[in-house]
Symmetry: C2
Subunit: 395 residues, 2 copies
């Protein structure tokens, strides 16, 4: 890596296109300026990559600015110089006495830079409900930018991200190879008496080592592996206890390449699964097949959800949560993009190169099962990003 | 794990003490109700542990409530039943159509529960600048709770966490053994030609496998390992490229036990370090020694900072950022507790069983060095939590 080089996996032309698409949406929303706080959106627009989102930072897009402006902690300026495509004058660091201080707030610095650049007027959009943009950030911006109207821009940039470019799809295909390897290794490792942490360790090492000579990036969610009664809830991690006979474990992981995620879930049963679990697995597989028959450009996310729901309800099962969401570039705490969801109230129409984690998990009172597929919408239909046996695994 | 059992590492009495201390601070701040959103604070007050903080959730403490109330996504209710010490009636789930929706917001549900319990009056504190409490969350609560006054409670619960109990220190001692093992393994693995991801993989696997038959938990920050010019910035992760000869690499990791972190940093140079780096290492070590001479109950955090600063400035070095912060229980994105910082403007007086990551990193224009120590303030002084050679490593 060198200062002043493009160290990102994308061309400068690709960043220009992303910026142009963002500006179109800003114009539609009547925004003169957009303050971006979501680390994934910051990366998407500038290339910025660093674990610095535990302090306040922002990328500002102006309708008339040639490049966005990155703002963050002073000690992260060199990281921005190394990882973004921005010129030095568009990288601005605040002094360290703004960090976790009760007297100074980093959004005061952001407002000051906006004033300097004449961007403190008109309508300024913020990502009001996005990660790392706090209530205090909003209050400080309102107080500091009294010449402007502050509006919630929602997940405007996330929507630009929803349709992937070919270079993005190429990275997701690389991530998918890592996903397959992680899941195979996890299934090979799990067994009665094996400590839960051992499987988690293998998953993490395999995901980071990658495949075919390229490494994996860290996932936005750590390995989830609820076991036994824990499978009644999807978001448990691991413990010291060994896996026990006659219990199911749901393994949810993601292969990641340059922050692009391909998640996948499988349930593994150690022993002889009860009939109700075998039956649920069959129903879930039938529901996935029904959903894949429907998913294609022009169909609605709600149509995919309906196909899934009709199938499982015919068999007396019920799931009241969404059965999928957009995936791609992300940072902790979520690999979902927070745009489209597969559910009855969603109004998204599918387009080619949308990428979705179809996640038909079923969580009942004291057990659950999940078999998922990461998908890409093609020109004419849909294809799984991974090639991995779609089944309940029994060991 | 079983529903209804205390599956946490702490006694119910310990949780009662935490709640009592929180109530004292609430009373001092004039708060009738406190809405807690920081996942570490939620865990601290109830035991809740799950990777569900990518959706809105809260723990509510009422001055007159016997137990806090946990609120989160419906599919995480079973996780709350498994991991918290709360009775079922104090675990409340919202429907899935609140998740990442443009029409319903989870804080509407939180407000509704407050109304049901008669807690929608008086002064309600929120953690206005804490992780995962968004601008939109604040606006929704203000709109929904118009009978109450919403105030910023700051990091009130974080301050309760700052002085550790003996059971917490015991977990941190377990974590420290993991920290030592991770760092030793990382230093053993790094070498010219070794891909960066290989060292990251080893670090993650070692941290999760733990030591002495107990496993490690996931760290709130992934392994940081800036190398070469990257060491001019502390927050870079890893890439595919192999480590190169005649470059330094700064490795920052943490061992974690039941979410309690003990972080540590060392710089490793592959080859023959330039004189300026050897000199900087000597100065840093002298600065650490000077700071440790000062750190004890009754001293101020600013005194420790001053001892460090005086030493390095005498040698012509300069660091404009804080040189340490409180550590302990945490979730991504930060293992710091966001309370005390070692810097000239901090007013904290040290007390026994405060735990601090003394992090005297120096980041210059195109290189840097960091050698850190996780510390516990004792009854009479200070002791490192880890036993690990304090030096610049040369391979």
């Amino acid at each position: 890596m060198e200062f002043g080089k493009n160290n990102t996996p994308f061309s400068k032309a690709e960043f220009s296109q992303r910026l142009a698409k963002t500006r179109v949406r800003m114009e539609q929303a009547g925004l003169d300026v957009l303050i971006v706080s979501d680390p994934a959106n910051m990366n998407y627009l500038t290339g910025y990559d660093g674990w610095s989102f535990y302090v306040h930072q922002a990328v500002v897009v102006g309708a008339d600015l040639e490049q966005p402006i990155w703002m963050g902690r002073g000690q992260d300026v060199n990281g921005a110089r190394l990882t973004t495509i921005l010129r030095d004058e568009n990288i601005r660091g605040y002094t360290d006495d703004h960090v976790q201080s009760t007297t100074k707030h980093p959004m005061q610095f952001v407002a000051q830079v906006l004033r300097e650049r004449g961007l403190d007027k008109g309508v300024i959009g913020v990502e009001a409900d996005s990660y790392y943009f706090t209530g205090k950030s909003l209050d400080v911006l309102r107080a500091e930018l009294s010449n402007a109207r502050i509006e919630d821009a929602g997940v405007l940039v996330n929507w630009v991200r929803t349709v992937k470019s070919d270079p993005e799809i190429a990275l997701m295909n690389e991530a998918a190879r890592i996903t397959e390897k992680i899941m195979q290794t996890a299934i090979d490792t799990i067994g009665v008496g094996v400590p839960q942490y051992e499987v988690a360790a293998i998953i993490q090492a395999t995901g980071t080592r990658g495949v075919n000579g390229y490494g994996g990036d860290y996932p936005a969610i750590v390995p989830l592996m609820p076991t036994g009664i824990g499978t009644s809830c999807p978001h448990m991690t691991w413990r010291d206890e060994p896996f026990q006979a006659q219990t199911g474990t749901t393994i949810e992981i993601a292969g990641v390449r340059h922050r692009y995620h391909v998640p996948m879930t499988r349930t593994v049963f150690l022993g002889t699964p009860p009939d109700k679990m075998r039956h649920a697995a069959e129903v879930v597989l039938e529901g996935i097949a029904a959903a894949l028959d429907v998913a294609k450009p022009g169909a609605g996310t709600r149509d995919v959800h309906a196909a899934w729901t009709r199938t499982i309800e015919r068999h007396g099962l019920f799931k009241d949560s969404r059965c999928g969401y957009a995936i791609g570039l992300n940072y902790p705490p979520d690999w979902g993009e927070r745009t489209l969801s597969l559910r009855s109230t969603d109004e998204t129409i599918l387009e080619p190169n949308m990428t979705i984690h179809f996640m038909p998990g079923i969580w009942l009172d004291d057990w659950g099962i999940a078999i998922s597929e990461p998908l890409r919408i093609t020109q004419t239909g849909v294809e799984p990003l991974c090639s991995f046996p779609r089944q309940l695994f029994v060991k």
